[in-house]
Subunit: 124 residues, 2 copies
Amino acid sequence: MMNTEAAVSAYWTALEARDWDTLAGLLADDVVYHMPQTRERIVGRESFLRFNQEYPGDWHLAVTRAVASGRHAATWITCAYRGEQLPATSFFDLDDAGLVREITEFWPAAYEPPPGREHLAERY
Amino acid sequence: MMNTEAAVSAYWTALEARDWDTLAGLLADDVVYHMPQTRERIVGRESFLRFNQEYPGDWHLAVTRAVASGRHAATWITCAYRGEQLPATSFFDLDDAGLVREITEFWPAAYEPPPGREHLAERY
């Protein structure tokens, strides 16, 4: 059984490689993928694999940061998609067998800062 | 010196309590707060405290999930703000003294899901 950090690293490597067999082997049968921004939830390994297989457009994922402890992990990835570099943040729960059981994922979009804090913040 | 999980928990407790002295004591002098969505960066403890002190409106923060390992941590908080429950995800780096040295924070907004995945996703 892999430790949590290795399991989450393998998850992103398999997803980037479209290595669906390896990815399936990392997921619990009843994995649940939560997207709080759209209030969508995908339940079950087969549906989750199809969601990724059917996702339109070309995309490439790289892990920017990962933190794992016990059966919990969080990652910040950078997704190259349609000419943009998009961040995503994901929180993972693994089950006792070390399989990914819950994923909650956020895709924070860019926006212009509100006025009134230019004296404190620099742009980059 | 607190461990990383305790330091990050204390950070959110102090921020929610507007306990600026305690918060200041958890931050490195040269703390950097990154907001990748707006490409803003706030450098230094005094500016970071002022940013929070001056933030308009009432807000209340609660930690939904936290993961820490070594000098790194990630949290998912829920912010009650103007009648909404807003998620934020934050990645922390602490320095060797256990002080918060870097924070990268995302505020993912709600949006409507794109069409084409209704056969896989349920709404909640």
